[in-house]
């Protein structure tokens, strides 16, 4: 009747050292594969792809290897008349890519490359009567978009332009029996969503509304015998979920509830020794997405070869200090 615990086995010869140079080479080379089929297929999320690549490079102290001017020009070209920003040229604007673009420009200390007032207008225009946010004008509602909205506004220092109380009310209406959060009221808890909602509550100064002991229990139960964390009960471990769970635990002040050493071993085992980069699980194909969350996870676990990362915005702490943004964390 029941199901066996789903997990992976870490082989004894799995990588156990951090291969930072290889990862930097992997990311530096990734953007030069512009004629690649797979690369072209992922155009619909390009702006986020660039954010993942640049952030992990910055965390490794290698941001200077990326083409700053080309990227800033690209972002400018992706801002639309309505103020929103699209994943790439020819694509439609969306909150997901608006956040990524603003994050990138913060790394480069160049937010003024955008028409900031218009970005703010765009975000404000997507807030609904019930406080929720649509991802774009087509009306998909999701707590991810609530996070994108407040994170972008916080980075721009314009939080007061939306109805924060209503936005908070909506996110809290997505809280579940297990203390977690889902996409919409009634949706099942999910580590990615919990990250967005706890990050949202941090940025809006409402973390006291979280049932931290209950949620922390659910989150620390995501750790499997391999050391990796899954995103929901009865699912496989994954480097990106490891980040979302770990960052959520950090935000609610319960990061010590998991076995840090075991998680570190799992993340290190997801490196590809040949190509550089991290995969979702040991032995799978690497990508920039999991490479960022692998490195960011190791940073939260205290690896001193990497810059400290902020758990709420997944950006280097020194960048947030520069713009004077320090989101709340529970102690």
């Amino acid at each position: 009747m029941g199901t066996q615990v789903k997990d992976v086995i870490i082989k004894p010869d799995a990588t156990s050292t951090l291969l930072l140079d290889k990862h930097a080479d992997y990311i530096a080379a990734y953007g030069s594969k512009k004629d690649d089929y797979e690369y072209t297929l992922s155009e619909y999320l390009r702006m986020s792809g660039i954010y993942w690549g640049l952030t992990v490079m910055d965390l490794m102290g290698q941001l200077h290897r990326m083409n700053r001017q080309e990227i800033i020009d690209f972002i400018k070209a992706c801002q639309h008349e309505c103020g929103g920003i699209s994943a790439s040229i020819g694509h439609d604007p969306h909150l997901l890519y608006t956040l990524s673009a603003v994050q990138i420009l913060c790394l480069y200390d160049s937010v003024d490359a955008l028409d900031v007032d218009k970005v703010v207008e765009y975000i404000k225009g997507l807030q609904q009567e019930d406080g929720s946010f649509a991802g774009d004008k087509w009306g998909e509602i999701d707590t991810r978009f609530s996070f994108c909205a407040v994170a972008t506004l916080a980075l721009l220092g314009k939080m007061d332009t939306i109805n924060v109380d209503k936005a908070v009310e909506f996110v809290l209406s997505c809280m579940n029996f297990d203390g977690g959060f889902g996409c919409r009221p009634g949706s099942e808890s999910h580590a990615g969503q919990i990250y967005c909602c706890s990050g949202f509550l941090s940025l809006t100064g409402q973390l006291h509304q979280v049932n931290a002991d209950l949620l922390g229990w659910w989150l620390c139960e995501r750790q499997l015998p391999s050391g990796g964390l899954n995103g929901r009960p009865e699912k496989l471990p994954d480097v990106c979920y490891s980040w979302w769970v770990l960052a959520s635990l950090k935000i609610i002040g319960r990061i010590h509830w998991i076995d840090k050493a075991k998680l570190r071993s799992f993340i290190l085992a997801c490196q590809d020794e040949e190509t550089g980069g991290f995969a979702d699980r040991p032995g799978d194909m690497v990508d920039p997405f999991h490479t960022l969350f692998g490195v960011a996870g190791l940073s939260l676990l205290g690896d001193e070869q990497i810059k400290p990362v902020n758990p709420v915005l997944c950006m280097p702490e020194d960048v947030l200090q520069r713009i004077n943004l320090q989101p709340d964390l529970l102690s």
Binding site: G2, T40, L45, G182, R184, G216, K262
Partner: protein, 583 residues
């Protein structure tokens, strides 16, 4: 990006793959550019539908193409008659079904399906529910499909009890289905809400569609239904004791009710001319409309939380204008109004008294007990017996051990203290990855027990030494405590919340691992601080103590800081009020 296994291939295979990809790339780019230029020209025709269909069937996450399709479909709505529109949208649903078969986890496809369903001239919700049934039978954890189902249920008014029966079926065929248990947790409070009067039977089930947001924060369920649920969950965990879904659900069922929102304590000190107020939950006193009335006169006071770190806190303090209550020959009557919640608490300061308070005690509030009424203790008792039986069969099952602890706490937290501690010990051994969680939870329970003991004894001394405490909590309950003994535990810090102990005079915390005193912040009555054998290593760590004006005695023996050069003179400068310093 997920679950793609890396396969080794020869150079020749690589070359073949490269060529194949090059070919695919050309076709893809041509189709994409065709879509983009058609859209730019404002063309909304059948051909555009075809090209976008071709691209989306292999790449359903290409959101902009769904947007383009919606523009085309909305255009067609204006130029075709209803019958044709119905057909076009039905074709769209069939296309979507094929997309979802290939990629059942695409946000874009599911959102588009929802959009189409609401624009269909004659929607067929039964078909949509059928699609969800089929999809969930292939993957009963697909949260996209569950969410779509909830939308269909809402739009078409499927009765709540029918959906509950659906979860019965899924759970019946496979207990290990977290999504179904989750769905139950949202349906039960709708179908069997906790009745406003504590002992009345369950209300008749409502045969209406759920309200737009079925989530309530308490999620409470009426008692009768709760008892039936216990039975169902027990079946589940006796069948598969290692399946976590049922245990998570069970812990929710055992959860306690929300505390009433109220002012739980008002404390007034004549010496400091200060008022401290405790609330049943963290609030921002500056924005909730807090009003202090002294002898019938509303006072203009400034509320501050006990530590600048907190914008929301369960304890707030304010200073009265100098001279207002300092004369001991006067009697005063205080009322604190929480206007937002239409509640208040009075407190009288009698002649000759230096302080006074008014509050509900933790024992009155049954703060740390289950929400079940006392009459049902027998039910909890039998639940505990069942779990004990299971534990005999599966002595190392962590879920069962933890549940036994929770049941014991619901029944008699003090009576079962010894067993609880023993079970925690086993838990830390069988589930060592989470030992820090168990240590913190055990600390919380021991603190709750100590608060209960203190309340029963009606004293203001809180003593909890040698209990392996790793964390401090419930500090808002210790507002009136004058002596605290935390010696010989495993504490690493006195967190900012510690500043809620506004009446504290003596702190004993020898033999811990404390290296942070942030919480010893503006404690107006604190006189003695005993911190022998801790980890305080720098003068900066002691800085918070400088904010405690009455500090006289400080014991720092056995701390690294005592090795600092000129420590004694440095300390005299930092803490001039201290007269008895031990290094």
């Amino acid at each position: 990006m997920h679950g793609r296994v890396k396969v080794k291939s020869t150079a020749q295979q690589e070359e073949e793959k490269r060529k194949e990809r090059e070919k695919k790339l050309k076709i893809y780019v041509a189709a994409r550019d065709a879509c983009f230029s058609k859209r730019k020209e404002g063309i909304w025709d059948d051909e555009a539908l075809q090209v976008t269909q071709q691209l989306l069937s292999s790449n359903p996450d290409f959101a902009t193409l769904w947007n383009y399709r919606r523009e085309i479909l909305m255009h067609l709505e204006t130029v075709r008659d209803e019958e044709e529109v119905q057909k076009i949208y039905q074709a769209e649903l069939s296309f979507l079904e094929s997309c979802l078969k290939v990629n059942p986890k695409s946000y874009g496809s599911w959102h588009h399906r929802g959009w189409v369903s609401t624009r269909l001239p004659r929607p067929d919700w039964a078909r949509e529910l059928g699609l969800c049934d089929r999809c969930l039978s292939l993957d009963d954890r697909n949260f996209h499909c569950w969410d779509y189902r909830r939308m269909v249920v809402k739009m078409s008014g499927v009765p709540v009890d029918q959906e509950l029966a659906f979860t019965d079926r899924l759970i019946g065929s496979n207990f290990s289905n977290y999504s179904s248990w989750h769905y139950r947790s949202t349906l039960l409070p709708l179908l069997h809400p906790e009745s406003p009067e504590p002992h009345s039977p369950c209300r008749e089930p409502r045969r209406a569609s759920p309200p737009p947001s079925p989530q309530t924060h308490s999620h409470r369920v009426c008692e009768e239904q709760l008892l039936k649920e216990y039975e169902l969950v027990q079946n589940a965990f006796f069948t598969d004791p290692n399946d976590q879904s049922a245990w998570f659900y069970y812990r929710w069922l055992l959860g306690r009710a929300e505390r009433e929102e109220m002012i739980s304590c008002v404390y007034v000190s004549r010496d400091e001319e200060r008022v401290a107020v405790a609330f049943s939950r963290p609030v921002n006193a500056q924005s909730v409309g807090l009003l202090l009335v002294l002898d019938g006169q509303p006072q203009r006071v400034e509320w501050r939380s006990v530590h600048p770190r907190f914008k929301h806190s369960p304890v707030w303090i304010c200073d009265l204008p100098p001279g207002t209550i300092s004369d001991v020959t006067n009697e005063h009557n205080l009322t604190v109004h929480w206007t937002e919640k239409h509640t208040h608490r009075d407190c009288a300061l009698y002649t000759g008294r230096s302080e006074s308070w008014c509050r509900d005690s933790a024992t009155d509030q049954e703060l740390f007990r289950s929400e079940l009424s006392v009459e049902k203790t027998s039910v909890l008792q039998s639940e505990l017996q069942s779990c004990n039986q299971l534990q005999e069969l599966e002595p190392l099952n962590k879920w069962c051990l933890l549940t036994i602890i929770l049941l014991m706490r619901a029944l008699d937290p003090l009576g079962y203290e010894k067993e609880t501690l023993a079970h925690f010990q086993t838990l830390k051994e069988v589930d060592s990855m989470r030992s820090a969680y168990y240590s913190d939870l055990c600390s919380k329970f021991m603190i709750e027990n100590t608060i209960l003991k203190m309340e029963y004894a009606e004293v203001r001394v809180f003593s909890i030494s040698d209990k392996n405490l790793t964390t401090l909590c419930h500090l808002d309950q210790l507002l009136l405590v004058t002596h605290i003994n935390l010696s010989s535990n495993q504490l690493q810090r006195l967190p900012p919340q510690f500043a809620m102990l506004q009446c504290l005079e003596v702190l004993e915390a020898d033999n811990n691992s404390i290296d942070n005193l942030e919480g010893l912040f503006h404690l107006p009555k604190l006189e003695e601080v005993l911190l022998k054998n801790n980890q305080i290593s720098t003068l900066a760590d002691l800085q918070p103590l400088a904010s405690c004006p009455k500090l006289k005695r400080l014991d720092l023996r056995g701390n690294p800081v005592t090795q600092t050069a000129n420590i004694e003179s440095e300390l005299t400068e930092l803490l001039p009020s201290v007269t008895d310093l031990q290094l």
